[in-house]
Symmetry: C2
Subunit: 794 residues, 2 copies
Amino acid sequence: MRTDKEPIYPVEPWEVTETAFFKKETARGDNGFSAIERNNYRNETTFALSNGYIGTRGTFEEAYDFDIDTGLEGNFINGFYESGRIRYGEANFGSPLRSQSLLNLPNLKETLLYADGEQFRMDEGTVTEYARTLRMKEGTLERSLIWTSPGGRRIRIRIGRLVSFEKRHILAIRYEAEPLNFDGELTFVSRLQADVENHTRKTNPIVDYGPFGRRLEPLRLTAEERRLYYEGITKGSRLTMGCGSSHRLWLDGKPAGARESYETGELEASVSLTLAVRKGETAALEKMICYLDGEVSMRRAEELLAEAEATGYGGLKERQRACMDHFWETAGIDIEGAGADALRQGLHFNLFHIFQSAGRDGRTGMGAKGLSGEGYEGHYFWDTEMYVMPVFIYTEPGVAKALLDYRYAKLPEARDRARVLGHDKGALFPWRTINGEEASTYYPLGTAQYHINGDIAYALCLYFQVTGDVEYLKEKGAELLIETARVWADVGSFAECRGGKYCICSVTGPDEYNVLVDNNFYTNLTARENLRNASRAVRYLREHAPERMEELERRLDFSQEETVLWDRIAENMYFPYDEKRGIYPMDDGFLMRKPWDESKIPPEKRAWLYENYHPLFIMRHRMSKQADAVLGMYLYGNYFTEEEIRRNYDFYQEVTLHHSSLSTCIFGIVASGIGYREEAYRYFSQSARMDLDDYHDNFYAGIHAANMAGTWQAVINGFAGVRCQDSGLSFRPYLPEDWDAYAFCLRYRGRRLRVRIERERAEFTLLEGERIEFWINGRRAAIEQEGGSFVEAL
Amino acid sequence: MRTDKEPIYPVEPWEVTETAFFKKETARGDNGFSAIERNNYRNETTFALSNGYIGTRGTFEEAYDFDIDTGLEGNFINGFYESGRIRYGEANFGSPLRSQSLLNLPNLKETLLYADGEQFRMDEGTVTEYARTLRMKEGTLERSLIWTSPGGRRIRIRIGRLVSFEKRHILAIRYEAEPLNFDGELTFVSRLQADVENHTRKTNPIVDYGPFGRRLEPLRLTAEERRLYYEGITKGSRLTMGCGSSHRLWLDGKPAGARESYETGELEASVSLTLAVRKGETAALEKMICYLDGEVSMRRAEELLAEAEATGYGGLKERQRACMDHFWETAGIDIEGAGADALRQGLHFNLFHIFQSAGRDGRTGMGAKGLSGEGYEGHYFWDTEMYVMPVFIYTEPGVAKALLDYRYAKLPEARDRARVLGHDKGALFPWRTINGEEASTYYPLGTAQYHINGDIAYALCLYFQVTGDVEYLKEKGAELLIETARVWADVGSFAECRGGKYCICSVTGPDEYNVLVDNNFYTNLTARENLRNASRAVRYLREHAPERMEELERRLDFSQEETVLWDRIAENMYFPYDEKRGIYPMDDGFLMRKPWDESKIPPEKRAWLYENYHPLFIMRHRMSKQADAVLGMYLYGNYFTEEEIRRNYDFYQEVTLHHSSLSTCIFGIVASGIGYREEAYRYFSQSARMDLDDYHDNFYAGIHAANMAGTWQAVINGFAGVRCQDSGLSFRPYLPEDWDAYAFCLRYRGRRLRVRIERERAEFTLLEGERIEFWINGRRAAIEQEGGSFVEAL
């Protein structure tokens, strides 16, 4: 990770702007060739738009034919994947046999503009006054420029784009062209390109499975009445999708006629609209694009497009703004202070991307890369539960609930998986998946991460704690807790050689450099909590929803007796402990491993260990990729003294390489808790700018959603010290040295609380809801009514 | 493993006889369909012949077109392999990218016999007086029968076959036919079939790589002058091979003329020889077959065939018998006692197969399946060094040396592999290989078995101890020891948390159910010995061959200073120890694992855990596939008290499932040492008959060479308690209850010693060589001169 980078984009709190379009010919400064190519590829992720259903990369309407290192067109529907056969050198029992890859879908953004036959291309003629801007308050992407054609025609071009939060099927584009020095004919050619394929294999040499080649079989392709429509079915997973576009032309704000022509090939279609425009007039093409899957029909697409057309681009934009306002109102963090703009920009960028990436329909989750690229094949990991979901739980609990719904919906697959792993009862969630089945092809770093069960249980319980949604506990939560707990009760055993403590062997914790270990500290901790909470849930249901309990007992072949074992395990969970240092080693073997000598690793290989070293080399060394035990101490801090956490933090600080994007935000939070404020601030700063400045040099493949969400946590759970446990909501806030103040909002049990932290005071305002109680620095506080405030001196 | 089976073949000490040819139509008794099919498939392995260079399965000359469950034609050249690309769900750095598979080569055994146009087939007409016999004293396979054709012609047929130990390129067949009730024309059609391919993928669903399809590209195919010849090159590995056959006809012992005709296709060729034969006359076809690789030419093949023809089948058979006599003279074990015949047969069968399977040219090793089938793709494993080589060291040291030469020759590849695994110095031998490169596609059960280095060092040192061949130490041995030791000195570290002891993490020991563990007892033990012996070798060379030492220092960039670290590691090697039970757990985590509950495993899945359970399920349970710590206690018994060994044996006896064929023989040896004589005898008996009675139900895929050799060890190192350590050769013999006596020979430092153990005495006779000293039951004994004896009362 390179954290010494200059900001890539101008520092503006609410915008991210590309100020020039770079191609090979226009190298800036002394940058090398590949850096230039990567510039565009990366920016496609920066400017990716999504609404949790549709995702589209920030590619250009001109649809440049970039090579594989320069760019990647990408359009996705959340949960829409293709399968291919996976081959193994040697297959294990239970190795997934079919892949799941978020499928790259037909592109409809392509729009070519011709001025008297001259085609607008930024790599020909001259481009001036160029700006492409992600407007995070508006939820739109805008591009404006003046193009002088090789033939000398000057045109002002403005293109707006949004993926509608309100209308989940709609991506809308408004394309304006104003001749500046000529009268002539403008032609808009809008295309549908279905000759698309995934680049997974090409960009990720570590995986060797499909989908290879074009995977959608076209069922229908039409171009008529200013509409394009495509319908296809995947070859492997047999899922159907449709997409279409509709087009309306305006001249200086009035509907305009045009000469129309259509072309359809086997895999592409286009509509051309030509109109005469005079100097100073603005021609505008409004293009509505829809994507849909499942029950697909052209009629349904036409309805969706007609509905969007009726609203118009302007209307969609207004409503988009309203959605964003609603989001920022609660999720936004106001940082005051000179020089905080870069952090504010990073924060907003991160929040914007996670907000737009989360599935909201209960049948989809959120990919580790959102819907911004093909990275990790679009898979959902624990990132959702442990990093992203806390943000939503405190700010948009409806989204959090939808993500939990997704897991609940996949309980049948998780039960099947538990059987494959030899558990007679319970459910084991897959390490990576789209459709609910395990898609990890390398079990030491996949299925062995049993903690996924505990992670889901953690997020679920945090959801209950913060929202107080006991109905959800009854309806779905208890079942999730019971089924995950049952696996914990079966995976380990009480070991005589450990004083009868419960040991869990041969699992992998969060840390991906310490694989297949015994008694991973984090795993045992999260397992214990899962068991405790499952036991509590059973007690709660027995008391408050006995019928539901009975129904569960019947359906799950569950006996309340099982909680006796759970409680016994929870009371007797084993944790590796080193007396001498007073620390919890990451696992039983950690302290025995060979000391890591970074000086032996060439600098260019340091961040890419698995790409350059054999797994056995990595495993036998005493070092850590990312927060593991430290994450456990953050989540379950109530079980440890501050002094204990400090000792452990100090130890792990030395041995952690932070090669995962999931690491620094957690270290930052824990550093805050133990008074390491400078370090906390440094980690936070890295986390805030990590993707915007591409510290990991791989942003082109997609966002790092976990870290993005971790930034929010670094402020709220770190600087402001927010926790929500049995005792309720609590704060231990402080103000980072460089700032004058910061403020944020939290939703808590139907209330909305605004928190403002200054140097010497913390102010709490109850924006919505009834009387609220909370803890501030260990003391109880309350605000009696909506609008009321509470001030604590710091 | 099923050990309750009835003998498959009649019990005869020196023969194995198939008394009937079973096909689907002739089911015997109530056997099911598949059992019948397997009968032939298995017998092809039973009757496989080899000389360490050529290997040929015991298929019939009639070349029946069996389906994949019924039979597999197989002809191999040791070390001749084909490569295909290996694909991985997710590749790791250092995963082998090219496979190595012992290639199934063109078949030349095929010989069809026509009597007046009626083709001899055992599944048509009637077969009587049938016997197919492996003659282990002679080293030949013979078949005799009387066939009555559908048309009523009766012919006596006798077919002899041998793969010559003297002429490594030659496989010879003598095919006799005697009309019993007619005069007529006999036609022998001898064929060369090059349309062959490996069945690996078809028979082993766990691997998913090639070679697929026919992998030899024909370079030449001719049929002329009673000779067939083929030359081909592999598509992947680009190795060339040639094979040919020559044919001579005899009538009642005199050279006979014949009508000849030839056919050649793209991939097959044949010669037909027709002659008139009268009732009672015997026509005989002598067919010499040669295989060669490397520098291949038709001229060379013709020379080899001419040479073999000059010797004739009779001559070859005589010399074969002489080779076998020489072998049995030393390697044979005479067991006296009623009812010992079944064990003698098993022992002879096992010794015969390992004798014929070992590579002898210093550029090839010995496959775990010998050259008897495609099992394990013909790979060489540690089986050679730990199981097979001790037999050869004591009986045929020249063969042992050739096998060590092979490892020495592959040091360059082992050095490269060590670099891949992150070791700056030294050599790491591959877990499975043919060409010296790692071919294991699943590193937890492959490359992680670092003990292979220690195993090779062990065999090498045993070779020195037994042969006293110090020249070999200077020439090759020291370099092997130094290079293997260097990896041990780098793989672990002195761990503060283990009192500064040297710990080795993340390796897999011999036990394949306990994977990627810390401080595997066997590994640490064998590593310590490797380091000690390397250090000793350096001291020896410094004193006795300083120039060689200097040369090594230069060439290996080696400093004698390195031995200081080696010695320190050896002195401070860590071993897991359980105070309470007084045992050495197999590894640090073993005692923590979940107790194994066999009752939860359906019987049909018990022996096939990896086929039916996820690796994580297997790894998290406290059980063991095979001898691991117990093997260490056998090899390095001098470091442990008998009481200690007994405690450990008792413990491992409980937790070991013996799912590997490498297990029972070792348990048997250790049981002997601690006075568990009944158990030792039972294990020995199982080991002796394991393959002959197909206890593992997979003999069709090839022999279990390690267990076969382990049987010999169970007698010599078990019952007779033979060890050879620094103090010299020692015995602690006893006579198993059921026997009257047993006798065997050992080669020791140029001498040949015969040992005969009776109930109350042990007699030692020095058959060859000068004065010999040895230990018997802890007391020193000596025989002063050749022919002399020593008797010890027991």
